[in-house]
Symmetry: C2
Subunit: 234 residues, 2 copies
Amino acid sequence: MQYLKIMEAISEQIDAGLLAAGNKLPAERKLADSFNTTRVTLRESLALLEAEGKLYREDRRGWFVSPTPLSYDPTYTTNFPQMAKEQGRLARTELIDAKLMPASRRAASLLKVPPLSEVYRVDRLRFLDERPVVVVTNFILPKYFPNLLEKSFTSSLTTLYREEYGVIYSKTRYRVSTTSLLGETAQHLRATAGSPAMLVERLNYDQHDNVIDCDLEYWRHDAICIESVAELSK
Amino acid sequence: MQYLKIMEAISEQIDAGLLAAGNKLPAERKLADSFNTTRVTLRESLALLEAEGKLYREDRRGWFVSPTPLSYDPTYTTNFPQMAKEQGRLARTELIDAKLMPASRRAASLLKVPPLSEVYRVDRLRFLDERPVVVVTNFILPKYFPNLLEKSFTSSLTTLYREEYGVIYSKTRYRVSTTSLLGETAQHLRATAGSPAMLVERLNYDQHDNVIDCDLEYWRHDAICIESVAELSK
DNA sequence: AAGTGGTCTAGACCACTTA
DNA sequence: AAGTGGTCTAGACCACTTG
């Protein structure tokens, strides 16, 4: 089990600080040579470290050492940049697309509206210290947010909801699972198709307990850990 | 990108119900033949489906179609068998080991006790419909649970805490991240070293807000999704 | 232009599971 | 005993990134 030994060797170098967060690893061919093995086997080790969240890959660019993950509390409403700031990180959001369109099957079922109902769909890409880490897609019920597309998306959606429509997030139902990145989502995150990822789905309620929107968040899985405190019911 | 096409082909067969949950896939060599490719490429497709949680692997036994994941709410105290039952699944727990020992570094830091303090360590393996899905390790502060090892571990720990010591779980701090299975943990789960996994770490408090124990749960990542509702603070 | 990562081939041997 | 999965080798070509 050569690939386990190689994995441990690289792992130790990371833990020892010889390979710092954000650093690029040497070329695969060079690494393979220095471990006296082939690229195939080396890549097995690297994939393992990717699964563990110690390394990440940028498509065609190489392998990098993962920074400390962002601690993400789904029960917090604080917007993304603020959450990052509290943890000493720099965050930035880019608008990919915002439009009115028929709800996808998944979105319709979450929002409990008939399939193909019109909803707003807002796609955004979020960066942590200039690394793209999550693609967020919101499906928003137009009923509560007339003329949403005319608004500016420079501030957070939470802020927009509150200041323009008096809607306040008050409850969220979330779901976390693991998946893999495909197609455009992968491209936005500079990931190779099939990279492991974390999917956070949220269904959000306003202060009157109405469902107002839902969102799908595809995270580079090494970039976050979900962390929260819960009072136990019963 | 042959491996993506193969992945989609298999994926469709699963969605169409041609490959039912729990079914074993044909041998890798046969699959490779039928897709006119090599085992290496085929295995790339299979690994992708594993990352997505549609397939899982049992070490040296082959590839299987994943059943529906268990919905796991960390804010619930209900014990594991009951949680499973509510979702129409059959659960079972096996005791691997229970002993008094010096706290590991990770456990000591979570429990906020000096390194190498004596704590109880209880390792258990949990099955869902006779498939091993999670290895749970509890680190328990002896202070609140004198003579714990003399008790029977046939019922749940929650029940034991309540009935024998009057200790009631009232708050939990949890953390979810992705990782990979190694060593004994992998073996218990019948997994190949390096299989993707989900790690749930919990720090538990009693009714007086004392930390009483912590636990590390290594899940077959296709076997659960974390699902919860949260009232938003502020 | 050179080098790199992404993808793929066509084998091989071994230890283990299964019939 | 046969077949299977786990692991590994030694190449190859292409498209893309980088200097």
